[in-house]
Symmetry: C2
Subunit: 129 residues, 2 copies
Amino acid sequence: MQRVSDGKLNQWKAEGFNPANCPVRQVLDHVSAKWPVLVLMELETGPRRFNELLRALPDISKRMLTQSLRDLERDGIVRRKVFDTKPPSVSYSLTDLGEGFLPHLLALVDWAEGSMQNILTARKEFDLR
Amino acid sequence: MQRVSDGKLNQWKAEGFNPANCPVRQVLDHVSAKWPVLVLMELETGPRRFNELLRALPDISKRMLTQSLRDLERDGIVRRKVFDTKPPSVSYSLTDLGEGFLPHLLALVDWAEGSMQNILTARKEFDLR
DNA sequence: GTATACAGGTCTCATTTAGAGACCTTCTTT
DNA sequence: AAAGAAGGTCTCTAAATGAGACCTGTATAC
């Protein structure tokens, strides 16, 4: 039996879990950081080439795009496919795992969008104190 | 009328939106970064004092805890309450806004937990290539 | 009374990470 | 022959993070 109101963190701890090297944290870091979020949202509607992503995300650098894509690829969330056109072109798309994740991400984004007014109000109050 | 399969990012762009200074992004940065996630998970089960949080999150520094709490407070997600005991003690808890957010966060964490096996497998494959 | 402890921070400095942008390679078009 | 495109990598600088010393005010211990 398990108490229901313990909170996830406490459950983990009860199982001898150490937040310091938590694998879930690593995944969330990859998936919820600034750039990966935007990359995933762009891939929502279908495969994209490297330079398409660059153009779609105007303020990302090649370096960070490469790194975000590599992390997502390594975690099995994004698939990288090379076509030997000349010059070779590369296509990135969501895997099944990635497709399964997207709804959660979009739910978060929707929440943020819907709460924006409250948040902006809260910030104003906080700042003039 | 709005096409449904456009993707959120494209919808935003159609509305003249510029990802560069997107307010949603800022909120997500505060809410989904490494430490804030853990702070929020700890607050899931009720108010906590500053030093309680420090002890609960063994590898966080005071500096980062303070900063995470300030950001969350400023965004109206966490409430800070000072009691004038001596020495004064400070209690942090979720606001209604924060309570509304938590389910989404936990959904993400559950997904990560449930997908961990797939992810670890994907990583292994990636690494030996 | 002096010394030590605790609450909740801030400040400084060393280390990591991110960002800007030059450069690379292979083929194609002009 | 020169320039351009694709998909990156490399270098250098700037910003964020982490470790930990220090601060302020009361309380308790010696």
